[in-house]
Point group: C2
C-alpha cells in the first residue's frame, strides 16, 4: 500500500529536484524516511521530487503504524529529536544565503529568493555544533570558542565588499550569524492526548513544545518570578514592560590567556547599567547563552549572535566587528521585556567572572531549567478579559507573515545594493575622482614648463585642485565605513529576526490547526467539549504570546530603522559637506592666481 | 645614384611602417615623390619605412636637379601648393585623434600619443574642402554650408560620452574642428635668391611664405593701417594691444530660408560691441573667414571654428553646441590684438547682411589681399632697439615647443579623463545612486504592509529618502553639462591652438636655419655680408612676431584656464551642495517619524 501524506501548507518549489505542493493535497511518499528534512514523493499532478517533511502529515493507515523512524520511541523522543539535523548542527536559515541569490534578486526583486517561510533545514557548509555546549561541564574549559565547525567558504573570508572587483554584478556581503533552528526544544511530553498528534515529529510546532502544550501535556510548577505577562496595549497584546529597564555596554575586548599562556581568547567587558559591575565574557559564553534562550523561548525571536570565524580571531578588524555585532545583539536583548529579565541572561550579565563555582552553578541551573519549550507556555499570563478572536488572530498572523516575507526581500535588496554601492565607492568612485585629480595634476605640471612668472599662481592652484580630487576619491573610499557598514550591521541583525519568524508563526499556526481539529472531533463525538475548550484556551495563550512578540518586533523595528536611517543620512550629508569644503578650499587658491 | 636627404628634426616613429630618424642624419630616399606628406626611405640603421617629408631636406647632387615633381615649375608653385594634400583637404592634426589613442594614454600618460610636433598630414576620414570657398563668387550662394565632406565615422556621431557603456575602457569624446594645415599660403615669390632655397617645397616654412620673406623675395606696399606692431612688454615681445578693444555676442541662431524655401540654413546674430549693430552670419561665412585668416597670418594661431556635421544640422542640440563653439572662437578672435583688427574680420563683423553688393565687394577684396603669407611679414613693425639674440630666441622657442608638447599631452589626458568621468556619472554613478534609492523605496513599501499606525511617519520618510537618492542619481547625470562640457569646450579650442604651433615654430626654425646657412655662405665667400645681414634682419622680424604670438598664447591661456577651473569648481561645489540639500530634506522627514 502506497504511503500517503496530507500537505499542511503550500510549498512552492524553488530549486531543481523540488516539487510544489498545495495545502490539503494528498501526496504519495516513496519512503517515510526523510533525507535531512526532505521527503521524496509525487504530488497530484504526478510530479516527482522533494518537499519539506515538516509541510506534510503522514496519513495514518492504522493507529499503531510507523511514524518517521526517528520517533519510533513514541512519546519520548528526547535524544532523537535532533536526528534529522545533519551532522554539524542546524542549517542556516535560507534567508541568509544571499550570496548565491543576489543576482536573482537584483533582476527580480519582487520574487523572494532569500525567504522560505517554514523552510526545512537545508544543509549548508556553515553550521554550528551546539551539542558540545549542552549539558556537560567537562568540556567547558576547552577552548571551543570559535574552534567548532566554522565557515570556510572560499571567497567569503575576505571581508566586506569582497565581490569580484571587475564584474558588474552585485558583490556578496557575507551575512551569517550563529543560528540555531527555532524551536529545537522538544519537551518531554506525557502521552495523554486524544487530539491527534502531528505525525511529522520534526515540525517546529512539535519540536518547540507547542504541540505538547496545546494538547495539555505540559506540566510544571510556575514560580511567581517566572511569570511572563502579556498585557493589552494601545495596539493590541504586548509584553509587559520590564519595570527595571537597563542597558549593557560592551567594552575593550582584550586578549587573555590561561593554562600558563597555552590558550588564548578574547574577553569582552560587559557592564550592565543595573549593577554597574563589570563582568568579562567570552564569545563561547554568548554562544552558550544563545543556545539556552533558543531552547527556552519558542515564540520569542532571540537575536542571533555574530558569526563564528575560522581564522584571524585575534585580528583587530575582526574583534572590532564582532564587538559591534555583540553590541547590537545586547541592545536587542536588553530591549526585550521577556529576554532581558530571564534568569539565564541575568546570570550571564551579573555572575562574577572570577567565581568559577558560582558560574558553573548558574550554568547547570539554566541547563536543567524545566520551564522551557512546552512548559514555557505555562509561564505566560494573559490579560484578563475575553479570549482573542482566533479568526482575527489568524488574519493578523497572515498579515505579519506577508510583512516579514516582504521585509526580508527588501532587506536582502538593501543589503545587496548598499554592499555593492560601498564596493563601487571604494573602487570605481575613488578611481574616477582620482583619475580626474591626476589629470589636473598633469595639467598643472605641464603649465609649470611655461616659464611665465604670471602663471605661477594658476599652476599651484591647478596642482592643489588635483590633490583635492585625490582627497575626494579617498573620501569616497572611506565613507562606507561610516554609513554603509552600520546600516548593514542593522540589516544583518534583522535578517536574523526575520529568519526566526517562520518558526514562530508555525507554532501559532499549528496551535490553530489543533483547535480546528478538536472542534471537528467534538462534532464527530471523538472528544468532549471541555477538552476542546482546553485546546482553545491554550491556543489563546500561544496567540497572545505570538501577537505580543510581533508587536515588540514592530516597535523595535521602527525605533531601529528610524535611528539608522537618520544616522545614514547624517553621515552622507557630512560626507558631501566634506567634499564641498575641500573643493571650496581648492577654489580659493584661484583668488590670487 | 641614390637620392639622399638630410634630416632636419628628430622624428620618432609612432606607427607601424614608420621609421625614426635623427637630426642631421643622412637618409636614403627611394623616391623624391612624397605620398601624402610621407617619404619612403631607409635610415642609417638600415631600417626601411616612412618619415615625414617636411622633416627632411633633399641633398642636392646638382644645382639643376629635379625638385619634387610638384615644384618643377620652379619659382612659381602657386596652384600646386596643395598638391600634397589628399583629395578632400587637409588632414586633422593628430592631436585630435584622441579616439584611437586614449587607451594608450591612460596607461602611459607620460608618452605623447596624441601629439606629433611637425607632424605631416595624415589622411583621416574627417577632412574639409577649402577649395570650394576660395576665389569664386559663383558658388557663394550655393548651400555649401555643411554640405562638404563631413565626418561620418560610425559610433562617433552619437554625441558626447558615447563610449561603450558596458566597458571599463575610457570613452571617446569626439574632438574635432575645422582645421586647415597652417601656412597653406605660399606667396608668389620673385626668384632672386642667392641663399639656397629649401628643396622640400611642401615644408610649412616654404608654404607659409616664411622662406620667401627671409630670402628677401617679398615685396609689397604696406599701408599705415596694415602695420602690425610688436612692442617690448614686461615679459618680452608682445603684440601691441588693440587700442579699441571690443567683444562680440552671438545670439539666437535661427533657421532661415531662401529661394522660396528651397534652401534652409541657420543664421547666427552677431553683435560687436564697437558697432552695436547686429549682423547675420552663416557657418559658411565663418568657414570662409577662417580660410582667409589662415592664409594671411603665417605665425598667428587662428582659433579653429567648430566642426562640420553631416546630419542633424537643424537639431537644437547641435545648433546650441555650435553656437557655444562659435562663442569661444569669437572670444579668441576678439582677444587677439592682430586678428581682432584685421580687415577681413572687420568686414565679417560689420558688413550689413542684407547688402549683398557690399558683402561681395569686401569678400573679393579680402581674397585679393596681397599682404598675405610672405608679404604679411612686411607689415610687422618691430620695437626700436637692438635685434633679438637669436640663440636666446632659439632657446625660448625650444622651451615653448616642449611646453606645447607637454600641454597637448595633458590636455588630451584631461579631455579623456573628464569625458570618461562624465560618461560614468551619466551611467554608473546615476545607476548606483538610483539603485540605492530603489532599495530604500522597496524597504518603505515593505514597511507599509505592517499595519501599524505608529510607523506611518517612518514609512513615508523612507519612501522620501528613496526618492531623494533617485534625485541625487539624476543630479549626477545632469552635472556634466554644467561643468565637464564647458571644460571640454575650452580644451577643444586649445587643442586647436596646440595643433597650430608646430607649424608656427617651424617657420621660425626655418628662418633661423637660413641665418645659419647665410653666415656659412659668407664665410665661404658665396654671399656678401649685407645680404646675410638682410636675412638675419628678416629672421629678427619673424622671431619678434613668433615670440609676440607665444606671449599672447600664454596670456590667454592663463586667463582662460583660470576662469574655467574656477567655473568648474564652482559648479562642482554647487552640485555637492544640491545633493547635501536634498539629503537634508530627507533627514528632516524623520523628525516627526
Amino acid at each position: 500500500m502506497a504511503l500517503k501524506a496530507r500537505v499542511l501548507y503550500d510549498f512552492n518549489s524553488e530549486n531543481p529536484g523540488e516539487i510544489s505542493v498545495k495545502e490539503n493535497e494528498i501526496v504519495t511518499l516513496y519512503s517515510e524516511q526523510d533525507i535531512e528534512g526532505w521527503l521524496e514523493g509525487s504530488n497530484t499532478k504526478g510530479e516527482r521530487g522533494l518537499f519539506p517533511a515538516s509541510y506534510v502529515e503522514v496519513v495514518k493507515s492504522d493507529t499503531g503504524t510507523t511514524l518517521n523512524n526517528n520517533s519510533t520511541s513514541g512519546d519520548t523522543y528526547q535524544g532523537s529529536r535532533y536526528s534529522n539535523i545533519p551532522a554539524g548542527g542546524f542549517a542556516e536559515p535560507t534567508s541568509y544565503k544571499i550570496q548565491n541569490q543576489t543576482d536573482n534578486l537584483t533582476k527580480t526583486p519582487a520574487t523572494s529568493p532569500g525567504f522560505t517561510a517554514f523552510s526545512p533545514p537545508i544543509p549548508v557548509q556553515q553550521q554550528h555544533v551546539y551539542q558540545a555546549s549542552q549539558g556537560s561541564d567537562d568540556d567547558w574549559d576547552d577552548d571551543w570558542d570559535d574552534s567548532s565547525t566554522v565557515a570556510d567558504e572560499p571567497g567569503v573570508v575576505g571581508g566586506r565588499y569582497s565581490g569580484d572587483l571587475d564584474s558588474n554584478g552585485p558583490a556578496t556581503y557575507r551575512v551569517s550569524t550563529s543560528s540555531v533552528s527555532r524551536g529545537s526544544n522538544a519537551q518531554q511530553a506525557k502521552s495523554s492526548a486524544t487530539v491527534s498528534r502531528n505525525l511529522n515529529r520534526f515540525s517546529t510546532f512539535v519540536k518547540s513544545g507547542g504541540e505538547a502544550f496545546v494538547l495539555g501535556e505540559a506540566a510544571g510548577f510556575v514560580k511567581d518570578g517566572d511569570k511572563i505577562c502579556v498585557v493589552m496595549g494601545q495596539y493590541g497584546p504586548e509584553w509587559q514592560e520590564n519595570p527595571y529597564p537597563f542597558a549593557c555596554t560592551i567594552d575593550d575586548p582584550t586578549k587573555q590567556t590561561k593554562f600558563k599562556g597555552m590558550k588564548s581568547y578574547i574577553a569582552y567587558k560587559l557592564t550592565p547599567t543595573h549593577t554597574q559591575t563589570q563582568v568579562n565574557r567570552r564569545y563561547k559564553h554568548f554562544d552558550w547563552l544563545y543556545a539556552r534562550l533558543v531552547e527556552k523561548f519558542p515564540v520569542i525571536s532571540v537575536p542571533h549572535i555574530p558569526e563564528k570565524q575560522a581564522t584571524g580571531r585575534f585580528e583587530e578588524d575582526f574583534i572590532s566587528k564582532r564587538r559591534k555585532g555583540l553590541i547590537w545583539w545586547m541592545n536587542h536583548m536588553t530591549s526585550h521585556p521577556v529576554l532581558s529579565k530571564c534568569d539565564v541572561f541575568q546570570h550571564f550579565l551579573t555572575c562574577n567572572s572570577t567565581d568559577e563555582k558560582a558560574w558553573k552553578q548558574g550554568k547547570r541551573k539554566a541547563e536543567r531549567d524545566e520551564m522551557v519549550g512546552a512548559n514555557f507556555f505555562l509561564t505566560i499570563s494573559t490579560p484578563s478579559g475575553p479570549s482573542l478572536d482566533l479568526i482575527e488572530v489568524e488574519s493578523k498572523i497572515d498579515g505579519f507573515r506577508a510583512f516579514t516575507k516582504k521585509m526580508d526581500e527588501s532587506v536582502v535588496q538593501v543589503n545587496a545594493t548598499t554592499n555593492e554601492f560601498a564596493r563601487k565607492q571604494i573602487t570605481w568612485f575613488k578611481k574616477e575622482y582620482q583619475k580626474v585629480g591626476q589629470a589636473f595634476r598633469v595639467l598643472g605640471q605641464a603649465f609649470e614648463l611655461d616659464q611665465q612668472a604670471y602663471s605661477l599662481g594658476l599652476n599651484q592652484a591647478i596642482a592643489f585642485t588635483g590633490e583635492a580630487y585625490d582627497a575626494v576619491g579617498e573620501y569616497f573610499a572611506e565613507q562606507p565605513k561610516q554609513d554603509v557598514d552600520p546600516l548593514m550591521d542593522l540589516l544583518q541583525l534583522y535578517q536574523g529576526h526575520l529568519a526566526n519568524y517562520p518558526d514562530i508563526i508555525h507554532v501559532q499556526k499549528g496551535a490553530l490547526t489543533k483547535v480546528k481539529e478538536s472542534q471537528k472531533h467534538v462534532e464527530e463525538g471523538k472528544m468532549d467539549t471541555p477538552q476542546a475548550e482546553g485546546v482553545k484556551e491554550r491556543c489563546n495563550i500561544i496567540s497572545f504570546a505570538t501577537l505580543a512578540e510581533i508587536q515588540h518586533f514592530h516597535q523595535i523595528r521602527v525605533r531601529d530603522f528610524k535611528a539608522q536611517m537618520q544616522q545614514y543620512l547624517t553621515e552622507q550629508i557630512g560626507f558631501f559637506q566634506k567634499i564641498t569644503g575641500k573643493l571650496e578650499e581648492a577654489l580659493q587658491k584661484y583668488d590670487n592666481a
